[in-house]
């Protein structure tokens, strides 16, 4: 508990609105243990939004910049943790972006202490909650991709999450740094979190034309994704279906997917047998993306032949009995595309 005199690891906290300024003046002391204690108390205090606004308006962030270059690695790690707490609120995030912390943070990504690197990645991850933050991080994307090869598992999850948020805004930088082949390695990782984030990042990348083309050209990608459709985690399945749905828009993608015999798998995902109520919530994205993928594949003649036989299954989903409006719309769309003939172009 902050401020208790019996806690030797925390500096004493002043009362009321003197708390934050006094702790920051404590941070300017020469001895490292005192600074550490002050940092620990600050970490406890800054969970309160009012304290954060006090910090930001008092202009204490410059001191934190100095502390980021401190010699003691624990001090650096604690300062990053403090920044992590700051980014929990919008004021903090805006303040971080406007005070140009990003160059310092990108230097710290190469730090020797692993806890420091982990905290830096946490800060960057939280920054992407804001669109302006994601935009600012676009310049750092090549460096993040380099780091992806080296870091440990939990830091990789954070990196992948940051990358997918940035790529939702603009996938080009990530694609330029050879993103697809890098993510391909991560797709077959043993950890569920890494697979989930990697597939989400790949889905963000495959939105643009260049990405779609690369996903189809790289040899291993689509087979691995088809395997991931049968994964245990629902989110991984949903994201894999998302990538396939985007890839199937292009002609080569359609052809490759049909070669890999992906339609029966997608149909089994869409079918409703034995679903419980709570599963429906989580599976909504999966069903939506699978329906869209089927729609895209139905535009190819082979796909259409296969899907014409399965129309009743899709018809069940498109009826009014289906509660979710989005799924119903997707299913109706799919049925319409499957049964399209050149004579009724007017409807389409």
């Amino acid at each position: 508990m902050a401020g208790s005199p019996y806690d030797p690891s925390r500096a004493p906290v002043a009362y009321g609105r003197r708390a934050v300024p006094q702790l920051f003046s404590e941070l300017q002391q020469q001895e490292a243990p005192r600074r550490l204690r002050a940092l620990a108390s600050l970490c406890d205090l800054l969970r309160d939004p009012e304290r954060i606004s006090c910090t930001v308006s008092g202009g204490f962030l410059e001191q934190l910049k100095v502390l980021l270059k401190d010699e003691d690695s624990i001090v650096r790690a604690k300062t990053c943790e403090l920044l992590h707490l700051l980014t929990a609120h919008r004021i903090g995030r805006q303040a971080l972006l406007s005070s140009s912390f990003l160059p310092h943070l990108s230097e710290l990504m190469d730090d020797s202490s692993s806890s420091c690197r982990r905290n830096v990645q946490r800060v960057l991850n939280r920054l992407t909650l804001m669109p302006a933050g994601a935009e600012a991080l676009l310049t750092l994307v090549p460096k993040l991709m380099l780091k992806l090869r080296e870091e440990e598992e939990d830091v990789q999850v954070l990196l992948l999450s940051t990358l997918s948020s940035c790529s939702c805004l603009d996938p080009l930088p990530a694609l330029a740094s050879d993103g697809v082949s890098l993510l391909l390695h991560k797709l077959s990782d043993s950890s569920t979190d890494i697979r989930r984030e990697a597939t989400a990042a790949l889905m963000a990348l495959s939105v643009c034309e260049d990405g779609m083309r690369q996903v189809c050209e790289e040899e291993e990608v689509l087979p691995v994704l088809v395997d991931l459709l049968r994964d245990e985690d629902v989110e991984v399945q949903a994201n894999a279906a998302g990538v396939i749905m985007y890839a199937a828009i292009t002609n080569e993608g359609k052809q490759q997917c049909l070669d890999l015999d992906v339609i029966p798998i997608l149909l089994s995902l869409v079918s409703q047998d034995g679903e419980e109520e709570k599963d429906k919530e989580r599976k909504k994205a999966l069903v939506m993306y699978s329906l869209r993928a089927l729609t895209a594949l139905a535009e190819a003649p082979q796909g259409r032949c296969l899907l014409l036989e399965q129309l009743p299954l899709l018809g069940r989903r498109s009826e009014a009995a289906e509660e979710d409006q989005d799924i119903r719309r997707n299913a109706q769309n799919a049925v319409r595309v499957i049964t399209w003939t050149p004579c009724n172009t007017g409807e389409l």
Binding site: M1, R47, L129, I249, N251, E299, D326, N330
Partner: protein, 329 residues
Amino acid sequence: MAFVSPTKRDQNGSYTFSSRPRPVEDRSKYREPPSEQTQSNYGNIMYDRRVVRGNTYAQQIIPTTALPDPVEVQRQQEIRRRTVAAKRAREQCRTRTPEALQGRKHIDVQTDLYLEELSDVIVASDIECQTDAFLDKPATPLFIPATSGKDVETQIEEGELFDFDREVQALLELLVGKTVEQSLEEVMEEEELAGLRAQQRAFRELRNNELEEVLRLKEQERRRSKEKERRVAQQKEVLRKEREVAEKIAARAFTQQYLADLLPAVFTSLRSHGYFYDPVEKDIETNFFPWLMAEVNNSLEKRYTARALLDTIIDDVAQKRQEAFKDTQ
């Protein structure tokens, strides 16, 4: 002889042994003739040779084998002989006081300052002392000072000064409250962030959905427009080809017709231009006729010159006549 109860198995099957206590028999050196062995003499155990006396720490342990190893026995005899010999040798080498001269005798003498009588008896005297037994101290009389002023009594009961439960309540509230407050803040923060992320995720799902639809329709549109263009181009190509073919046919027909009487026309024109000639005729024409004409010309020239001459003569004559006429006028 031995009052030993037979070894019997216990109820559990374990082995038991019990015997009545009996005194140890005296053992004589030589074995008694067998007939007298039944008599048992009990001796004093203190005078029994078999009992070990004194300190046993340096005791020689009797070897377990009844018959000692002859080698062992020999070796021990050797050792004994050697120690005895060494002792004797030491005794011999040791220097002793020389023997007393004749008529004298060695006597032990004390050379200390004060001679003391050596006797075994140590002079000792016994002195006793005994403290008196403690008498009971009489009780001190109570000191009661003279009272002055008012007497007031007060007594602090069990829970009056300090009620632990009430005092601790404030502290506990503070401790628990601060902890709960801090943890509430942290939990709220996490929940807020989780809510934010969930919202973002839901938005992203819908966005992906719609975006895919948009991209698919765009791609479809592109494909269809490309297809249309290709078909239109194909059709145009077909038309162009048809037209070309028609033109070619027309041209061919016209040419055929045009060139139908080409050959006779050519021949006629050639013939008319004189490319097909009869060589005799040609020869006559080229060689004979010019000569003929030239000759004719010549002869005609001659005639003309003759006529011209004649004309000049006539003219001359006429002139002269005229002049002559004029002259005559």
